[in-house]
Symmetry: C3
Subunit: 140 residues, 3 copies
């Protein structure tokens, strides 16, 4: 068994889902891992990870719009407001999605379903550079 690690940096520009599946696939191919498990961990509390539909762009748009409806800004009971009205909601949206994802590696690539892609969900308005830790256990 062998252990591989890297950190992906993903640039964001506003509250959206950013598909970074190909970046993860690329490091797995680069390492030559055929079989094992790939752990993703995002080092942020205002951006998160989601595995979802990556074929039809309207699915992504609906997920983004839904999150805006589910977690409202500027609610009277919010107290964490110094850094802007998108700050506290960004932590709530992160809490409802994922900080870590563990994805099998099969046949040299991610064992995703036909329509699945891996997204970084940015919950802040301003541009950010986000860090996702990638850890891969190769079992051959």
């Amino acid at each position: 068994m062998k252990w591989y690690k890297t950190t992906l940096e993903i640039k964001t520009s506003g509250k959206k889902l950013y598909n970074f599946t190909s970046q993860v696939e690329e490091v797995i191919r680069h390492w030559g891992v055929k079989e094992g498990i790939c752990h993703l961990f995002i080092q942020h509390t205002s951006a998160s990870l989601v595995a979802s539909e990556s074929y039809d762009p309207t699915a992504k748009q609906d997920l983004e719009a839904f999150m805006n409806h589910l977690v409202l800004e500027d609610q009277p009971y919010y107290r964490h407001t110094l850094e802007g009205s998108d700050d506290s909601p960004s932590h709530m949206r992160s809490m409802l999605t994922n900080t870590s994802l563990s994805i099998p590696v099969d046949g040299g690539g991610l064992g995703l379903g036909t329509w699945q892609g891996i997204y970084l969900f940015e919950h802040r308005v301003r541009p950010h550079r986000r860090k996702v830790l990638v850890r891969c256990l190769s079992v051959e």
Copy 2:
């Protein structure tokens, strides 16, 4: 250390929670894994994984009803509507629950709490055959 893998196929018939704990326990017993970690990954974007109360059936019914109240169908801002009114909500419901779960294996079985069971949460109305990848690292 040893690596075991299989794919479980779970048949669904409508928007419900399907308890498949016994199927996971069965493959772990079959492999003879005593100690390690079991990774579950669902290869779908309209069905998801949940670890929840498995004793009282009314708990399961409340979770199903709650999800219908939290994520509404036919909202005016939905754009991903070609495949039916349960399509876009199915991705939203998946996003709010889990695509991957990592469960310790202890004493030859899943290290679940007394009341915990592992569910597949089907978010589509029509029958489906869902695939859950099971990857197990045995540490003995």
Copy 3:
């Protein structure tokens, strides 16, 4: 590669987020794990795991208040009500957050971001002793 395991017991007194990052860091230091992956699994269906902002206490308060607004008690369609009005909502809140978290270990500690902490989210009113399984794969 080596495998380490323990169970953390966390005492709770009401519906709040309990930061237990230091307890996880302590066992990792005690084991002397420098590099690998740490799996956390909570053996409960009415308490859950969250990685979130741990610097400003108002962020934590907003997350707690938000969950109370998102998942209401005493809804007419709830059927799982015998154990109190916080029972069924506790399963819903667990479902929306995490049962398992996988966190890289780097340089002898958790590979968390600057502001990240690991919380147990208690969803019941009464005091509880909660169990979190900690499993750590050291890859050196």
